[in-house]
């Protein structure tokens, strides 16, 4: 099993979730994060002085899938999250050694 960690633009979230659903992903976990990268934050004004916010709001998705499902999932995310503009985000893949479904105690792929 692999953990797919994707960082995308917030307003793309719904599309990405649907795309993953179509790709057979049944569960995922998201969290609101802030990103730092090529894309610079918006410039806020405070007492007339402009200053740029270093961090940009992003959404991080964490999805655990079978090794077989990784490629499909990545494709789905790329297709749904891409705008071609700077700041589209990243996808990272990590290895997961085990998974457990708390409710049933199932482990491994069965738990996903």
């Amino acid at each position: 099993m692999k953990l797919i960690m994707a960082i995308v633009k917030p307003f793309k979230l719904d599309e990405v979730r649907e795309a993953l659903g179509n790709a057979g992903v049944e569960g995922l976990t998201i969290s609101e994060v802030k990103g730092y990268g090529r894309q610079k934050g918006q410039t806020e004004i405070y007492r007339g002085a402009e200053y740029t916010v270093n961090f940009v709001p992003k959404v991080q998705l964490e999805v655990v899938v079978d090794d077989g499902g990784v490629a499909k999932a990545i494709e789905a995310i790329k297709a749904a999250a891409g705008t071609g503009k700077i700041g589209d985000g990243k996808i990272f893949v990590l290895n997961v050694e085990d998974a457990v479904r708390i409710r049933t105690g199932e482990t491994g792929s069965a738990a996903i």
Partner: protein, 491 residues
């Protein structure tokens, strides 16, 4: 950041600008023999005119003939003998008192709390709320006695300690148409908001114990005497300075104290490097709105009656100047920073309210419009540009930039635009050709600036070298809410 000599110099000049004027004043007074009569006249009427909250507004009624040229029906002198307590005046003054109390809690509390970072929201609210409580009690114990009783030139007497002599049927000579209890309460609400305004300069770094002691000492040593000078029958009022509702007594006074306090406290940690943007400007908008709404008790209430046209004219002037100032500030930002910020709009509105405070009741609608536009621009420049350029004081929420500068601007413009046809006790420069009024206004501004500045310095110096006035660096970084009050805004 390091400070170039030129900047320090400019800073001093800023101060001198206000200071110098008042030295010039007396001299100028000598020269202006031509306006002696006018000056005398204005002095004569001054005890009521300059009386601000203390002004019995009867003159306005007698101004009717003057104004009766207007192509509208006019009313003769009011149906009341102005010396009898009546339910209408009392109703309006009770309402005004409540409105001014609302300006401090929750108005001012929210206005400031919305501008600080999340970790200091509750502590900022606690400053306004705590100040309200401390001052209320002190006002009853001795404050009112010092400010509004007796016939001293500099301070009142102490007969009214604990308000002992104030019976159910007492009436103050300063407000002949309402019970003295109401007048005492109305004045109390002014005494509450003035020191509370200073908190804007202290944000994010003052010890709460020191803050409350500072409020107490400042009330008794600074506010009460100055209020007596101008409104309580003291020397400034007698001299003929015009301050309808507190341009100098309240705003320049609080602003000056804020400037001194900001210098003595030092800058907030992380200023310039950390993001100090307001956490929730929605609070500031609520606060500014309630300040605006409550200010009608402040200005129109300062007619201390509702039986003739004075309260109404003061209300109209207040509304017009406030809106004009907000638009002026908004316009400056739109042009210079390309975007009109919400913080700018509400700051502009407050600046307008500040500047019209001494003038309302003396100026006509057009005068109010001029003052509003002017102060919007002046305070924008002072708070946004001059402050950063000078850079040696951290007037966090612009107490000096808005209340100090705005109050001084308003007091001076009052001398220019005051109009006899609006208030028979006033003789302004422009309309009534009385340059001498300018002298009196500058005297008023200078006296307030110096007395307040020096006394504030002394009070804070004593506190600083005894209990200390600033929190530790850890506390400042972690936040005042959790450390001073043991609470936080969750989530």
């Amino acid at each position: 950041m390091k400070l170039s000599g030129i900047q320090r110099l400019a800073g001093l000049m800023l101060v001198a600008a206000i200071a110098g004027a008042s030295f010039a004043a007396p001299a100028l007074a000598q020269d202006s023999g031509g306006s002696a009569a006018a000056s005398a006249a204005s002095s004569a009427a001054s005890s009521s005119a300059s009386g601000g909250p203390a002004a019995s507004a009867t003159p306005a009624a007698s101004a009717a003939p003057a104004a009766s040229a207007a192509p509208t029906p006019v009313f003769a002198t009011s149906p009341y003998k102005a010396d009898s307590v009546n339910s209408g005046d009392t109703a309006w003054m009770l309402t005004s008192s409540v409105l001014v109390l609302m300006m401090t809690v929750p108005g001012l509390a929210l206005f400031y709390a919305g501008m600080v970072r999340k970790k200091n929201i509750l502590a900022t609210l606690a400053q306004s709320f705590g100040a309200t409580c401390v001052i209320t009690v002190l006002w009853m114990v001795v404050g009112y006695s010092i400010a509004f009783t007796g016939s001293g030139k500099f301070i009142g007497d102490f007969k009214y300690i604990m308000l002992a002599p104030m019976g159910i049927a007492s009436v103050s000579a300063l407000a002949p148409t309402i019970p003295e209890t109401v007048y005492m309460f109305f004045q109390m609400t002014f005494a509450i908001i003035t020191p509370a305004l200073i908190a804007g300069a202290l944000a994010d770094r003052m010890k709460y114990s020191a803050f409350l002691l500072f409020m107490a000492a400042w009330l008794l040593l600074v506010y009460c005497p100055i209020a007596h000078w101008v409104w309580g029958g003291g020397w400034l009022g007698a001299a003929g300075a015009l301050d309808f509702a507190g341009g100098t007594v309240v705003h320049l006074n609080a602003g000056t104290a804020g400037l001194v306090a900001a210098l003595m406290l030092g800058k907030r940690k992380g200023l310039g490097t950390e993001n100090m943007a307001p956490y929730n400007l929605a609070y500031s908008v609520i606060g500014a709105s309630l300040l605006w709404v409550g200010w009608f008790g402040f200005n129109a209430g300062s007619a201390v009656e509702s039986h003739d046209g004075q309260a109404g004219m003061a209300a109209a002037a207040t509304q017009i100047a406030t809106a004009a100032a907000a638009l002026a500030w908004m316009g400056c930002e739109w042009i210079i920073a390309k975007k009109p910020s919400v913080l700018g709009m509400v700051s502009g509105a407050v600046a307008g309210l500040v500047a019209i405070t001494p003038a309302s009741g003396f100026v006509d609608p057009t005068g109010a419009l001029i003052i509003g536009i002017g102060v919007g621009i002046v305070c924008y420049v002072a708070s946004v540009h001059v402050k950063h350029w000078l850079g040696f004081y951290d007037d966090a929420l612009d107490c000096w930039g808005v209340h100090g500068i705005g109050g001084a601007f308003g007091a001076i413009m009052t001398g220019v635009l005051a109009r006899n046809s609006i208030n028979s006790a006033a003789h302004g420069w422009l309309y009534d050709h009385n340059p001498h009024q300018m002298v009196l206004q500058l005297e008023d501004v200078g006296a307030t600036f110096f007395y307040c500045g020096i006394m504030t310095f002394i009070i804070l110096a004593v506190l600083k070298y005894t209990i200390g006035i600033r929190v530790s660096e850890e506390v400042e970084v972690e936040g005042l809410d959790i450390n001073l009050h043991g609470e936080v805004v969750q989530g």
